[in-house]
Subunit: 458 residues, 2 copies
């Protein structure tokens, strides 16, 4: 049987060394979420396909991993669609479940399903895997961990501010360099769309969304290619080329909107968020009002934010989020949501490259008891039992092989101390403890004091 | 859009209350694994389908969730197989990945792939989700958490003993009643198969496997139905009906095997494991040599074990494992494996029903700062910033609504203390702290001492 000995494309194994680092990062995130009193929920890895469909946008929909119906159900295969090249329709005929694409749509289902038992505003955090059939590249995987906080309830800009502060706390705790948070509002983009005489924001949003990669000139080129009129493009370029401070940008956009009789509420909102963040003090984040920020996901309706990776890291954003008014329930102002997401794996990469993981991720000491035959072990097993119960890491080598090989194992595995109780030691009622880092051996009398002595050592 | 507002069949959401309990159980498991010096690994949620196929047995294979190939790849659909009713072959033509069915086969891949960097014996633990398209019932889900420890290396019965001790530590720490661990060996079953004049153990193993549900008489009935000869069945019944102590059973089986010239090595092995466990002392587990234990999974070759749920719980086994000689590499005695699994969700159910979760799962206190308008918040935001940095749970109510409603929220969410700094308090330079459990309000002077006072309270 020829068997592919690799993980599927875009997925990874994690060794214990990597997991210690991942657990450190996860703990910083979770501790911060808890200190803001977000409560944890978990949802299943797959959802009904009907829930996930038409939520994210066409391009995103094509990246959803669908699960094949099992047994007889595949007989429902819609072969006409297959023949007509309607591959997505064909796929849906033999699949009714799909892997989680993000944590926000499952949250919206959770809230709807549990409306009678949850307390509003509902502040939840969730740290679970998501899956996307994307083309893998540096910092982009097909299975990755997402860490989200969201607040569902009445629309209030303090929720935006609190979430931005969560970003600030996390990045500050991790010791990252100062980061830029770009902020915009879908309603402002809708306003610009109107001024451009376009029917819908969706005509330009996916192109705008690439602006941090292709630049403003790149956006212009692509809009021309798409057949947007020169006049419309000029109007957009006016907005994208506004320079200066946030205040300056806000003033100019407000004036333009007022002139064109377009509501400037969303501009006032951005101003409030930025001012309140300043008063609430941010240590690690600079907020930048950026009219080119569009965000890909289909469900956003208001404020949108994105954290760029630090300079010199070409791995895109390391977090993003936004307000979604209609995802939980359409037109229910009591169930508006705002939430942000942390790109765990990209943040991990940055910590790794900037050498920001603590030197000591695990300070507990480990003991290997050498094996001189099972009958010898009986003499100290009580002590090992007690030490393990007290949370001290003890291992008994499973095989009575040469001491050299057992020490070799201890070295390779990074064992801190080796305990030696062989025939000779038993006869003299002594035991030896070898400190593997120093290479020093200490001799102790009375094997019955083993537990006590080892507790003194650590 | 009609949208199913439920989790897919056999899957569940978890609320924060449930997660606190789940995290408690997970911590007991992980702490125990670490105290035995198992190292953690994680593997992807899906594997190449070719890896998972033909490892578990036919019935099990049909329960694997396959992931539909994306995009153009579904054009490879093998319609002839669909027409011929070869549904599994059809499914495999449009799927090349599948969700993890257990943690052992991914481990075997991991070890093969990383042979040059891991240290043998390789002791690993893994706590991750697995998925099975089983019929859901009490304690059986389609997505569930599995917690495994395995030791890959030379075959040595001390590995069996250490894993049994891991069971003992965990169940003892959790306060479960004394449990029965049934033990057998696939080689003993092979020996009995020979005595029965059958060609292969597989002819009887799936029926034997049901013995704890249908009893020995049930096994007899099903074997008759299957067309096994009366003579063969009689020989099997002889073994299944041996009564008495482990020693007694071992003696009788050994004598029978010796008479029939069948190797009794595997019987000696069981004897050694049981005797060593006794010397190593088990607090919470009684070992029972049980010739009817077969275990479903196809890859086991030697020792097999299973932990039954306590009496009166009809939810099957809560853990099981075994030795697999050929899973990592065929005929490589340096890479034999032994491992056990904990059925997390069933153990959870038992803890719940026996009321064994600690009363206090989370002792940290939470503070809600009432909202009297954003401008008031500026006066104490420095203090909130500092408290959160120190890991103290602080929440600011996002909306300036009536105090009654804000207190109502605090009550529903189980907030411990509410901090009141409104216009009046600011004027007098005081703040109030309301203990929500006692309903008592304390008044403190000097708002600039807020951080210090709150730290005194907790």
């Amino acid at each position: 049987m020829s068997q592919k000995l690799n993980t599927p494309k875009g997925t990874r194994d994690f060794s214990s060394i990597e997991l210690k680092k991942r657990n450190y990062l996860l703990k910083v995130l979770r501790d911060t979420f808890e200190s803001f009193n977000f409560e944890e929920i978990q949802t299943p890895s797959f959802e009904n396909l009907s829930l996930l469909s038409d939520k994210y946008g066409d391009e995103e929909d094509s990246l959803i991993f669908k699960i094949l119906s099992s047994g007889e159900k595949v007989k429902k295969a819609d072969l006409n669609s297959l023949n007509d090249g309607k591959l997505s329709k064909f796929a849906n005929s033999i699949s009714d479940k799909a892997l989680r694409y993000d944590l926000t749509v499952p949250l919206s289902r959770y809230v709807q399903q549990n409306l009678n038992i949850i307390t509003l505003p509902f502040k939840r955090f969730q740290t679970q895997l998501v899956w996307r059939a994307d083309r893998p590249q540096k910092g982009r995987y097909r299975e990755f961990l997402q860490c989200d906080v969201d607040i569902i309830g009445e629309k209030n800009y303090l929720n935006e501010v609190e979430c931005i502060k969560v970003y600030d706390y996390v990045f500050d705790s991790l010791g990252l360099p100062r980061l830029v948070l770009r902020i915009n509002n879908r309603e402002i983009l809708e306003g610009i769309t109107k001024i451009m005489n376009l029917n819908s924001l969706s005509e330009i949003s996916s192109i705008l969304d690439k602006s941090d990669k292709i630049g403003i000139n790149g956006v212009e080129d692509e809009l021309v290619k798409k057949g947007i009129s020169a006049e419309s493009i000029d109007k957009l370029m006016f907005f994208l080329n506004i320079e200066g401070s946030n205040e300056n940008k806000i003033d100019i956009v407000r004036k333009e909107f007022n002139t064109k009789n377009i509501s400037s509420n969303s501009i006032d909102l951005i101003e409030k968020i930025i001012n309140t963040c300043n008063k609430f003090k941010l240590n690690n984040i600079e907020i930048k009002f950026d009219l080119s920020l569009a965000r890909g996901l289909g469900y956003y309706t208001g404020t949108i934010v994105e954290i760029s990776s630090p300079k010199d890291f070409n791995i895109g954003s390391i977090g993003g989020g936004g307000r979604y008014d209609d995802l939980v329930q359409k037109n229910n102002p009591k169930l508006s949501g705002f939430g942000i997401s942390f790109g765990f794996d990209r943040i991990f990469l940055i910590l790794e490259e900037l050498n920001l993981f603590p030197n000591i991720l695990d300070s507990s000491k480990s003991f290997l008891f050498l094996n001189f035959g099972t009958d010898k072990i009986f003499n100290f097993i009580d002590s090992v039992n007690q030490l393990r119960k007290d949370g001290i890491i003890c291992e008994i080598y499973p095989d009575n092989i040469s001491i050299k090989k057992q020490l070799d194992y201890a070295n390779k595995k990074g064992i801190d101390f080796v305990v030696i109780i062989g025939e000779e030691e038993l006869k003299e009622d002594i035991f030896k403890v070898k400190d593997m880092s120093k290479g020093e051996e200490s001799i102790f009398t009375r094997i019955d004091s083993l537990t006590k002595k080892i507790k003194e050592i650590i």
